[in-house]
């Protein structure tokens, strides 16, 4: 790029010499010195701007176009030639620099034409500013009386010239209007830092274009007024590269502020301060900072939350910050921020950001472990070997004393003697052996007896106690144990009842039957009538024995339940009940254990109805709801049943709970009894 810059400068020097020669030898230039000075100022403004821009990679394309404006500006000097052909060529080329100017303006600051519309505007500018001078030359002489002859004129027609002039102004209005529209639109969507760069260039450009349009209009009315305006256009155009250079200078000044950034980062105490210093240095209040956590392969922002760098970089630019060859951070900023400035800031901030990154790593780690600790519902204590509480984490309701009294106190002063001694033994064991010591103890807190399980681990010279409230688990275990015992007792009781029933019932009848048959046999010959009476009695005894055996068998397990299902079994049960019983049961089968539990719930409920309820009707309803068998037995009796008294209902509760079900009894005095059991079918 250096060669290009030198080539441009040397070309410009050569063009300057030629232009000066043409101007000062011109026989139709009344103010050669002024004209030469004005045009040289304009041309060299653009060339200087272009050469400076070419030195920056991001502005190279813009620099080329600005240089093109400056170099082609010298073409206007051809119109100063006394040679009619050179003069005529000069008349054909005066629009070229203006076309380059519009092109350069519309590529700023990106360096390329962003949309098809912008491309069309630039194409229109080239077309207009190439064709218009040609048409003017074809249909008219030069504008001054002393000027050489226009060698390209075909027809010297005022009408044609006027038509071309009107067309030129019309299309020129469109091109200039479109250019200004593009500039305004670009300025409106620009970020604050970009606006700072755009504003001086766009304001001077808009002024130049406006002056150009005004001059074009006025030239149709007043030659003198228009010549003044054309000079104004000239200086307005010349101010554009100056505005660009001012923006560039501001960037350079900003780069100089990197030194002060280093000082600010040196005293920054937190990531927010660091970010603010970077924002100030880059002049971008929207800048965001992210730290790279290599151990977790993720980016986090200044607040410690994870950042999706790819998503955050959409429509923005990311500058990575490296320290000792490792990426430590990145700042996401406006794309208009000067790349070199961003690079300088990145280098200056690397040490501070590496330090911040290390802090973030520690914070993340701490935050992770804190989250883990907070997720554990257990109480935690840090204690010294002598039993002094050093720290704790947990709910104050789980403490034997208020937290403010706990720290610094000794376990012996707070806990019952046996608990404190056990705890100290555990601490000593953990500290001496490095093994985890465990134990259980009970405390009365807020008048509630609670059971705790402690695990004691060594942490240097101190012990960490992790204490879990296992009262609920203990209660459930006790309940389960009680339930098992009750089930066993109920089984024993059922067997005893069965044996008694067999002994008192069927067995006695069979004994009597045996004796009667023996007696009848003995009397058959001597007293046949008595033998016949004995046999009749025996037959009756046998029938009753059979019925009692059937009843007993039903009590053990009703065969109809396993063979025909709950519906048939409940119909049979209802048929034997002393009061009318309505039965609603789904026809499909439930698992055998569920059917048996449901059957015994209903059987026991009906037995209670017969014994105590004084009911006139009973309604049985079995349904399947959400994978559960729901059994309801409701009577219209006297109510007042208590499931905690007597073994019947409590036995049913155990039986249902053994299947993970629940059984509830509603039996307000005078309002009947409703038993509802829900038994999972899985």
């Amino acid at each position: 790029m250096l060669r290009a810059r030198w080539a441009i400068l040397l070309t410009a020097v050569a063009f300057t010499a030629i232009a000066l020669a043409l101007v000062f030898t011109s026989d139709h230039e009344s103010t050669p010195a002024f004209t030469a000075a004005a045009n040289l100022i304009v041309a060299w403004s653009f060339i200087a701007c272009g050469v400076v821009a070419l030195a920056r990679v991001s502005d190279a394309h813009f620099g080329l176009l600005m240089s093109a404006v400056g170099l082609t500006w010298f073409l206007s000097a051809l119109t100063e030639s006394n040679n009619s052909y050179v003069f005529s060529v000069g008349n054909l080329l005066w629009g070229i620099p203006l076309a380059f100017f519009i092109h350069a303006l519309l590529t700023f600051p990106r360096g390329y034409l962003e949309t098809k519309i912008v491309f069309a505007v630039v194409a229109a500018a080239y077309g207009l500013l190439s064709l218009a001078p040609l048409l003017f030359s074809l249909f008219g002489e030069a504008g001054c009386s002393d000027c050489p002859q226009n060698e390209f004129v075909l027809v010297d027609s005022n009408l044609a010239t006027t038509i071309v002039g009107v067309l030129f102004i019309g299309v020129g209005l469109f091109v200039c209007g479109a250019t200004i529209w593009v500039l305004i639109r670009r300025w409106r969507v620009a970020s604050a830092p970009l606006r700072r760069i755009l504003t001086p260039v766009f304001v001077t450009s808009a002024t130049a274009i406006g002056a150009f349009l005004l001059a074009a209009f006025v030239s149709a009315v007043s030659e003198t007024a228009s010549s003044v305006l054309w000079w104004l256009v000239l200086f307005a155009v010349a101010s554009v590269p100056t505005a660009f250079l001012v923006g560039l200078l501001r960037t350079r000044l900003a780069r100089a502020s990197v030194a002060s950034l280093v000082l600010e980062l040196g005293v920054a105490r937190d990531p927010e301060s660091t970010r603010d210093a970077l924002r100030k240095a880059l002049g971008d209040p929207s800048l965001n900072l992210a730290y790279w956590l290599s151990d977790r392969s993720r980016w986090v922002g200044v607040s410690g939350w994870e950042v999706d760098l790819e998503a955050a970089s959409q429509g923005r630019r990311t500058t990575l910050v490296e320290h000792d060859g490792e990426v430590v951070a990145a700042f996401i900023h406006d794309p208009s921020v000067d790349r070199e400035l961003a690079g300088a800031v990145s280098a200056a901030a690397s040490l501070a950001l590496a330090r911040e990154q290390s802090i973030q790593v520690v914070r993340q780690s701490e935050s992770r472990y804190r989250a883990l600790l907070n997720a554990i519902p257990d109480l935690m204590f840090r204690m010294s070997r002598d039993g002094t509480y050093l720290d704790f984490k947990g709910d104050r309701d789980d403490l034997a004393v208020p937290p403010e009294e706990l720290i610094g106190s000794n376990a012996r002063d707070i806990l019952p003697v046996d608990v404190a001694e056990g705890l100290l033994e555990g601490i000593a064991h953990a500290l001496d052996t490095g093994e985890v010591a465990t134990g259980e103890y009970e405390l009365t807190l807020n008048n509630v007896r609670r059971t705790f399980e402690a695990r004691i681990v060594r942490d240097g010279d101190e012990a960490v106690l992790i204490v879990r409230d296992i009262s609920e688990r203990k209660r459930q275990e006790d309940e389960l144990r009680g339930s098992r015992v009750r089930l066993l007792r109920a089984g024993d009781e059922a067997r005893r009842r069965l044996e008694r029933n067999l002994h008192d019932g069927a067995q006695q009848r069979l004994v009597s039957l045996s004796l009667a048959l023996r007696l009848a046999h003995a009397r058959l010959r001597d007293a046949p009538e008595e033998a016949e009476r004995l046999l009749a009695g025996a037959s009756e005894e046998l029938a009753q024995a059979l019925e009692e055996l059937r009843e007993l068998a039903r009590g053990i397990h009703p065969a109809v339940l396993s063979e025909r299902g709950l519906s048939a079994a409940l119909e049979a049960l209802a048929g034997r009940a002393p009061v009318p019983v309505g039965v609603t049961v789904p026809p499909d089968r439930f698992p055998p254990a569920v059917e048996a539990a449901a059957y015994y719930v209903i059987s026991e409920a009906l037995a209670n109805v017969a014994k105590y309820a004084e009911a006139s009707a009973v309604e049985i309803r079995v349904t399947r709801q959400n994978g559960r068998a729901v059994v309801e037995v409701a009577d219209d009796g006297v109510g007042g049943a208590d499931p905690t008294r007597g073994s019947g209902l409590s036995g049913l509760v155990d039986r249902v709970e053994a299947l993970d079900g629940v059984l509830k009894v509603e039996s307000a005095p005078g309002a009947g009894t409703r038993i509802r059991a829900e038994i999972p079918c899985e």
Partner: protein
């Protein structure tokens, strides 16, 4: 021992008492009374002075072995106590011998001959 042996039947099941009475009477025993519980058995034994008390092991008030002990340890004439049950005698182990009873007859095997065999 002859056909005039007087027997008191103690059992809480009326059907057994009736059948046993008929069976024993048919085989030459004299059934002088029936009791359905322990208290009644002791009372009738004192009043009727039976030769034999056919005593059910399971009574609603007293244990049959307890009643047997009392009957065999009372002053004066003591009846021969024969325990009976619908269960097998082996179910009771040494209890029969310890109670002072003369022997045991399963209810299903009760007969005059069996009673005579126990009484010797």
């Amino acid at each position: 021992m002859n056909t005039l042996t007087r027997v008191l039947i103690v059992d809480d099941h009326p059907s057994f008492r009736a059948t046993a009475r008929a069976l024993l009477q048919a085989e030459g025993f004299e059934v002088i009374g029936e009791a359905e519980n322990g208290v009644s058995a002791l009372k009738q034994a004192r009043e009727l002075h039976p030769d034999v008390v056919l005593l059910d092991v399971q009574l609603p008030d007293f244990d049959g072995f307890e009643v047997a002990t009392r009957l065999t340890s009372q002053n004066g004439a003591q009846p021969a106590v024969v325990l009976t049950s619908s269960r097998d005698g082996s179910d009771f182990g040494p209890l029969v011998a310890q109670s002072g009873a003369r022997g045991f007859i399963a209810k299903g095997e009760l007969s005059g001959a069996a009673l005579k065999a126990v009484l010797g």
